[in-house]
């Protein structure tokens, strides 16, 4: 049964259609693997009964030669997506026990395509973090280790549960979200493929909001092709999200076999950052050479405002978060502290319900939006955002996609960076510009660190040109031949 879980999503799909195995078999293997991997703390809620019912329904369809693009395939769902009747907490104590009475647009689309839900995946509280250590449900453990060293490493964040579940072969893919790098950075440090599509591609309806102008959902999978298959089912116009884009969704899977011959790949000199380990730069050079060998043309580009992206992000994201998280007031859902005074009830509920990092960001956000500081901080940051978006527009006059590293280091130990917020924020140094400009970005596993940990490369595309990212990403994947897997140390 375990062998089935080693298949890629596309192989599982093809096997189901050819009736080589059933969804019931596939799902049972997944459910069992999830149970035996609780040490990873990847799942907050397991839904074996729902999975069994969905698998049976899928098998009935498959038997008739029917079924959607994901018919019978077990997936994990980040706990930021509202799932009808199944606890959805965004990794926060303040939402403990919250069972939505509705389903997010994205998960509705996945179920309509035949996917099977195995459970809800752990994450940083309200997606605020780069290591999955801010979750109310405790940290997720990376399936990867430094050789024989038993030190527990982080899986990146905020989609740490998604990363661990897919990297440990518990599911064939997972939903994730990316506000500053939360798909691409965990994908990079767990040896996975993850794409943040262009802002507006995926509906945000029913996805717990963190920073609405930056949040985008996307998939995490083990191969580029799998990522293409899953993304296609997640995308699409949704009138319920006012920023959803009414555009046809391309066949991303077909793009994976497209040649990169003649494609112009930009290399931004500002992404050579002091203090980043030499192996990160070496991998980047290797990636450049691979794409060149595949026929791409390499051009140097300049993104001069790169160094201002993280500081701008840490004004814009907390500002939007402080506004979005105002809804958690102990009245309509979630935790409520006892008090006879309304204001005191609000204040105590929020103090008890939000963790330390979330409180810090709410305070920063409230401060930068408060009277007298709004122009100096918030408007300033939104102007810098314009400069960053303009940098990309100019770069795309010279190139079709941009290649960069995906994370500034391999996975680090749990607790290693927990007391230094700014050092933690730097994990998103390569990814955050993409969110600020609303562009698509994909992380692809490309090699191993000196300690044997995965490292990824990132490709950034023009708005709504995910197809080029899948073409170039698949070329990188073929050249890298990344086949390393974590050695299974977790047991039931």
């Amino acid at each position: 049964m375990r062998e089935l879980l080693k298949l890629s999503l596309s192989e599982a799909r093809d096997g189901l259609r050819a009736k080589s195995f059933s969804s019931a078999e596939l799902t049972a293997a997944s459910v069992k693997a999830i149970e035996s991997a609780r040490e990873l703390n990847a799942f907050v809620v397991e839904t074996p009964e729902i999975a069994g019912q969905m698998a049976a329904a899928s098998d009935a369809k498959l038997a008739k030669g029917e079924g959607g693009a994901l018919e019978g395939i077990p997936l994990g769902i980040k706990d930021l997506f509202c799932t009808k009747g199944v606890q959805t907490t965004a990794g926060s104590k303040i939402l403990k026990g919250f069972k939505p009475v509705y389903e997010s647009t994205i998960t509705s689309q996945l179920w309509a395509a035949g996917a099977v839900m195995t459970g809800k995946l752990n994450m940083d509280e309200f997606a605020m973090g780069s290591s999955n250590e801010t979750s109310h449900f405790g940290p997720v453990v990376n399936p990867w280790r430094r050789g024989n060293d038993a030190t527990k490493l982080v899986p990146g964040g905020s989609s740490g549960g998604s990363a661990a579940a897919v990297a440990a072969d518990l599911v064939f893919g997972a939903t994730a979200t990316d506000t500053g790098g939360s798909i691409r950075q965990p994908a990079s440090v767990t040896g996975l493929v993850g794409i943040k599509p262009t802002y507006g591609r995926c509906s945000r309806w029913g996805v717990v909001a963190f920073a609405s102008s930056l949040d985008q959902a996307g998939p995490m999978t083990r191969t580029v092709k799998d990522c293409a298959i899953l993304l296609r089912e997640m995308c699409g116009f949704d009138p319920k999200d006012s920023t959803s884009v009414d555009m046809a969704v391309p066949d991303f899977e077909a793009s994976c076999t497209r040649s990169v011959k003649g494609l112009r790949i930009g290399v931004p000199k500002e992404y050579r950052i002091d203090g980043v380990p030499a192996e990160i730069d070496a991998l980047w050079e290797q990636g450049i050479a691979w794409l060149k060998d595949a026929g791409a043309e390499i051009v140097e580009v300049s993104l001069p405002h790169t160094k201002y992206a993280l500081p701008a992000y840490y004004i814009v994201a907390p500002a939007e978060a402080s506004s979005n998280l105002a809804r958690y007031d102990g009245v309509r859902y979630g935790l409520r502290a006892n008090s006879d005074d309304l204001t005191e009830m609000y204040e105590t509920t929020r103090a008890e319900g939000f963790g330390r990092e979330v409180q810090r960001r709410i305070l920063i956000g409230t401060y930068v939006l408060s009277a007298g500081y709004y122009d100096a901080y918030y408007i300033k940051a939104q102007k810098v955002r314009t400069l960053i978006a303009d940098d990309f527009t100019r770069a795309y006059e010279k190139c079709d996609a941009i290649l960069t590293p995906a994370s500034p280091s391999p996975a680090f130990g749990i607790g290693e960076k927990a007391n230094d917020p700014i050092s933690m924020y730097l994990n998103d140094v390569y990814t955050v510009t993409v969110n600020l400009a609303g562009l698509p970005g994909i992380a692809v596993p490309a090699g191993l660190s000196k300690d044997g940990l995965p490292l990824g490369l990132q490709l950034i595309g023009r708005a709504f040109d995910e197809e080029t990212l899948f073409a170039a990403g698949a070329a990188l994947e073929r050249a890298a031949g990344f086949v390393a897997k974590p050695t299974k140390w977790w047991t039931s």
């Binding site: 840490y314 105002a326 007031d329 309509r332 008090s339 901080y377 408007i379 314009t386 978006a389």
Partner: protein, 95 residues
């Protein structure tokens, strides 16, 4: 610009977040570290730059101003900590 304990208390009040007295000073320190770091944005001359107001250039879709949804009060209050007859119950606010 830097914040002191008094400012943290004021901002926490605006954010409806109870911060215990002994956490005010450490929190001021944490916020100042972040504010000092974002201060580097001041190096940029942005006097001629428009602030971003839309991530992708787009016009928000319009729809008819009609009721298209509703009629499920019980669902709306299903997750509320305290309810009565499909109303949210809060501490008394008017005497």
């Amino acid at each position: 610009m830097s914040v002191d304990e008094k400012t943290v208390r004021r901002v926490a009040r605006l954010a409806r977040l109870a911060i215990p007295e002994e956490r005010l000073a450490p929190m001021a320190g944490e916020l100042n570290a972040i504010l000092a770091w974002v201060e580097q944005l001041q190096e940029l001359d942005t006097s001629a730059v428009e602030p971003m107001t839309s991530v992708r250039p787009m016009r928000l879709a319009r729809r008819k101003d009609v009721v298209t949804d509703g009629g499920y009060a019980a669902d709306i209050v299903a997750n509320a900590p305290r309810t009565e007859d499909n109303f949210f119950v809060v501490p008394k606010v008017v005497e």
